[in-house]
Symmetry: D2
Subunit: 377 residues, 4 copies
């Protein structure tokens, strides 16, 4: 095995998502952090890069410099992770794909549906990987649920109930807190607040496990803190292409919920429940039977779940290892080996369409609308 | 203290709700089961009544006989509980109220809004008690939440999320099971299935704790088992008169959920969570603080919660004791003593209006409609 | 069914255990509270008795008056419950048994082993019932575990781990609190504090579920609050007659534990876990399989568990209903009908022997001693 | 920051602990896997090493070759991790320390107390790091409890209750399973089975959080599966030097317990509870107050817990990140920077003394014995 070279854009000192990517990329020894443009402040970014072990000539001041610097190297980075502010994802991802780099982009991949369609096209024509970090889908027990749904263990899915609700923006006094305020300001966050932030993780999870796509949605948005222009609470009813009913609640004012991401899948012959705060367990109830606690690491799990588990049964693996699983599959794909199924630009595009259509529905009193991008109807 | 005489209509041998009423009425020694018309089969009903200790001359063959027999007695029953099939609640409740009896009616109080309006009027003009058994509202910790909301402990309520979803009708093969089938057949169940069965408990709970009333609703109903005419799954978004946002999910196909009734209340300065399967606890999270586990029986609870608690802290009290609390308050009211706040015909009427309006909304693709009866707008 | 007459000694206004007995005896309509000597203050006791609906001539000033008054009546009480301070249990129970009454005595039945032996003899010779209120054994799911152990579902039992530990005496400042202080004072509490108070419930539970008796024990007692003469924390290792290993921890300084009573039973082919704060569930794990959540009310439970369940699956039933189950079985026994298996004087005697022997072991640095009364070795 | 070179002995393909060390060492980019003797089968070990990215000249056939090869290099490994079978820990650790390498040794550090004393001496005289992988002590919330105990938040500790009990060796049919059998065979496992395997983690945790050392112990060992010579279940009562009472239960036949490691600490003014299966939370109960859920990542945590947390509140971090925290502190120490407090050879020695003394106590019917090595009394 040769280690792959990895570069990072954004994720500078103090960022939340940067460490998760670094742990994820490095934990399994697949990637070496070889290049970075980590901060919008070039000096700070270069300094931090070198403290992280990046050579000085690959510690770049901004993403354009990094693009220029890397594209000419023989040992150019095998993968670029884009973890910058949301509004810049599109142009950076586009530029690196066009220059022939593999890209892992943080969500949301773009701000508009049109940009999403463009990224999908570029990724296809480039032949390069464009992945999007819906990392929850890489938890072993999430993969296990998907596997069991696919093989019919709970029959045809009737109903999916997914919540991603926390209370960390529940303080009205945060109107002046820059870490919170931008999220509810259309000038910075775009058309949607909480739904675009957490709701799309939830929607992706529903599709991922069900092996089906969201067809139409009806949204009820609320700004429960009145100073907010964008929604801080949303209920989105949906229907899958295969006919399943969906309920999605997302909130940032649900004081007392911490991570607050859970999903329940109900089929003809059983149900699953999974919870992101205890991700190594799935509650499984067969029709007419008792609820059973499935554990990551138990015998009899699918190859997919086993492959992505790392320590013994009931030893928690956590969020960094879910991110690491995305990188495991990316490394395999880059090496041209058989691999798992990481989320791609198509998933990023679907999310953008769902966001824009949910906004339209909410403005139209919850009218049902097609949630899909035009290219995928 | 003189024990009160109590009569029961319905709740015969093998019924689910009958024992709960008998335990509830008798546990505190307030009521003696003195009369009953317990079964639509007169012989079985009389026999069972006598096995329960009712004297043979007060073991009646049907409710009309019981009405005739009781109204002339000096020791006539002080309270009649109506626990018959739903479609008969109206006529029995009406007849007993008009004859000057106090009534506790099982939910739903009536099948139509018009009947509900009529019961409210009769109850008012009779001066008698007409209570409806929204018994969850009588759990000590539910009363505690209500008390704390009323005194502003979590500030103005922004959001209420309430679920009453179970999986006990998740078997499509139950189409021929008479205990299940009638619930989804409009000829027997009326206009709504799952929402009328469990959803109205959830809606009452939201109003009860918030001290506010539901103003408008938007409903999405689904029959996830296609042979069912009425809904087995429903999502109802709502707005309270005071402006709070509401989300209500109710389902009978959520395999793996047992009792499945929980409520979360989010205000400006904190949140509560309560769960009917562990009813002696409330999770309370102050804004910016840690989640705390409030326990029934802890020091510092409100008089209302303390009055309705019976055994030491963390000793579970259970559903029968919640029903008993309804009877405690009824006994106090019948005796003319100061008392708590049991649900009444007005609550029963509100539920009926909400059911019919939710049905209308669901048929109209989730259009927002006024949830209130005309008399209460 | 004729209602049975019931009398109560102790359990006056403000007592903790009194209400549990009244709810338990009355909830199912088997018993009517007909007589009582409820308080050591005769005036208060008579007054309270009448407020509870007892006729004035059967509201007695003390237990001797009650014994005199009742024994001559044709409608004498069918059962006497003794819920007085511990040191009086022996003489009252003895007196009522000798006068031909059935007795339910609160635990501990006596203060000495000799007294315990005497009660056992008197109960036998009288032919009357002498029950002891180890009420936890009457929870449906406790009976279910016992049933499953008996039929070999988890194979031979290897290990029992039982804890009854709370933190309600964790305040050293309570040295002057009369509700706490007496428990650690040998002049009032006898030879043992916490072990005699909660430990014997735990030990009874282990024997009850295992269907086996404790043979020998080794005890480590500690007074973690130094002002206490008697132990507030104890670890007792034991061996059953059938060879199972036992671990019992009981504490009153375990701040944060509320009810704190749980038991785990491990056999050759599976394990059970039960917890008194959520008594309607048992965690069952077959060897090599997943943990399953057994629910009170699920289909397929034993007749014994079904008979003692009252409301639908996952509707909590609680501590008062466990006490009520003891009374259900007592009523059946008094009526001469087939019945369940309530704890009796022999159980009370075994507890006393275990307490005294544990004390001896603890004083002898944990030496292993025979835990059984001489008459049962 | 320069990356440090890291070498590994043992932890070959298919081992359980190998991946945990690799993730731990690499996740933060502090260490690069530069050398290894990974398997007792030299060919397999070299092959696997190269697949993990180790250069061929540093993929060694056994630890002696690695010692020879590394000690002459300028870029010799900065740290050697010893993850071989238990009986070889002593000689390998000794050899590398004596050659001037820093060592992280898996537990148990040695098989005898004498060996433990020797390692302590060698580590001291060499001036090199000798760490032992009691990795649970590196969970942020474990550090947080320790910090709060040290600053007196729960007062003087009265009682520690720690369990490390699982059911993964509950199958008597495993007598022929080589992964299980050796653990209960003194020829391979030494003097103790389950206590030496899991009990010493528990005992270390008690000391670590309390900031105190175990002084004396009394042990009750059992082989609940009769074919086992060594114990598969043990109860160890202990006293700390500071006077705290301790209860430690460890079992491998507790069917239904998975990871099964939890600790409760009770002091004069509060209690903590922590559970290895949900390691980001601590239950904290102040005397007289409500239980509060402390979350990793909440505001107001100690510097130590904050430093070792990596992702947002309630995002689980898991076991690999606990191991990583050990490596974080090792990297800091190797670089000569201020650092945290990883477990060292002294902890390894204490464990060995406790194991041997517990065995002696168990053989002497639970006699109380000094748990400390002679050098530390």
């Amino acid at each position: 095995m040769t280690r792959l070279n990895w570069g990072m854009i954004g994720g500078g000192e103090g960022s939340q998502i940067g460490p998760a990517h670094r742990m994820g990329a490095q934990a399994d020894g697949n990637f070496v952090l070889a290049a970075g443009a980590l901060d919008h402040d070039a000096v700070r970014g270069k300094d931090y890069a070198q403290r992280l072990g990046i050579a000085s000539d690959r510690a770049y001041g901004n993403w354009q410099e990094m693009l220029d610097g890397e594209k000419g190297r023989d040992d150019r980075v095998d993968l670029v992770t884009v973890a910058t502010p949301n509004s810049t994802h599109f142009e950076i991802t586009k530029a690196f794909l066009e220059a022939g780099f593999n890209v892992l982009c943080e969500k949301p991949m773009t701000m508009t549906v049109e940009e999403g369609e463009e990224i999908v096209k570029i990724a296809r024509s480039s032949g390069k990987i464009c992945a999007v970090n819906y990392c929850y889908s890489a938890y072993p027990m999430v993969r296990e649920m998907r596997h069991r749904v696919a093989r019919g263990e709970i029959g045809k899915i009737r109903l999916i109930v997914v919540n991603f609700s926390h209370g960390h923006h529940g303080d009205a006094g945060d109107a002046d807190n820059p870490r919170v305020r931008w999220r509810y300001d259309p000038a910075m966050a775009g058309v949607s607040g909480q739904f675009a932030d957490c709701g799309i993780h939830a929607l992706h999870m529903a599709s991922f496990i069900a092996g089906d796509e969201v067809e139409k949605i009806s949204a009820d948005f609320a700004s429960t803190i009145s100073s907010r222009e964008l929604e801080d609470d949303a209920m989105v009813n949906f229907r899958m292409e295969g006919g399943s009913v969906g309920r999605l609640w997302t909130s940032s004012v649900a004081i007392g919920r911490q991570h607050g991401f859970d999903i329940q899948i109900f089929g003809e012959t059983g149900g699953f429940k999974w919870w992101a705060e205890q991700p190594g367990q799935v509650m499984y109830t067969p029709l007419g039977g008792r609820t059973q606690i499935m554990e990551k690491g138990e015998s009899g799990l699918s190859d997919e779940a086993s492959r992505l588990s790392r320590v013994a049964i009931a030893h928690p693996e956590g969020f960094p290892m879910a991110v690491a699983n995305i990188y495991v599959d990316l490394a395999a794909a880059i090496r041209g080996e058989p691999h798992g199924d990481f989320p791609t630009a198509v998933d990023g595009l679907r999310s953008m369409a769902a966001v824009h259509q949910a906004v339209a529905s909410a403005k139209d009193n919850g009218a049902w609308v097609d949630a899909r991008p035009l290219s995928l109807r």
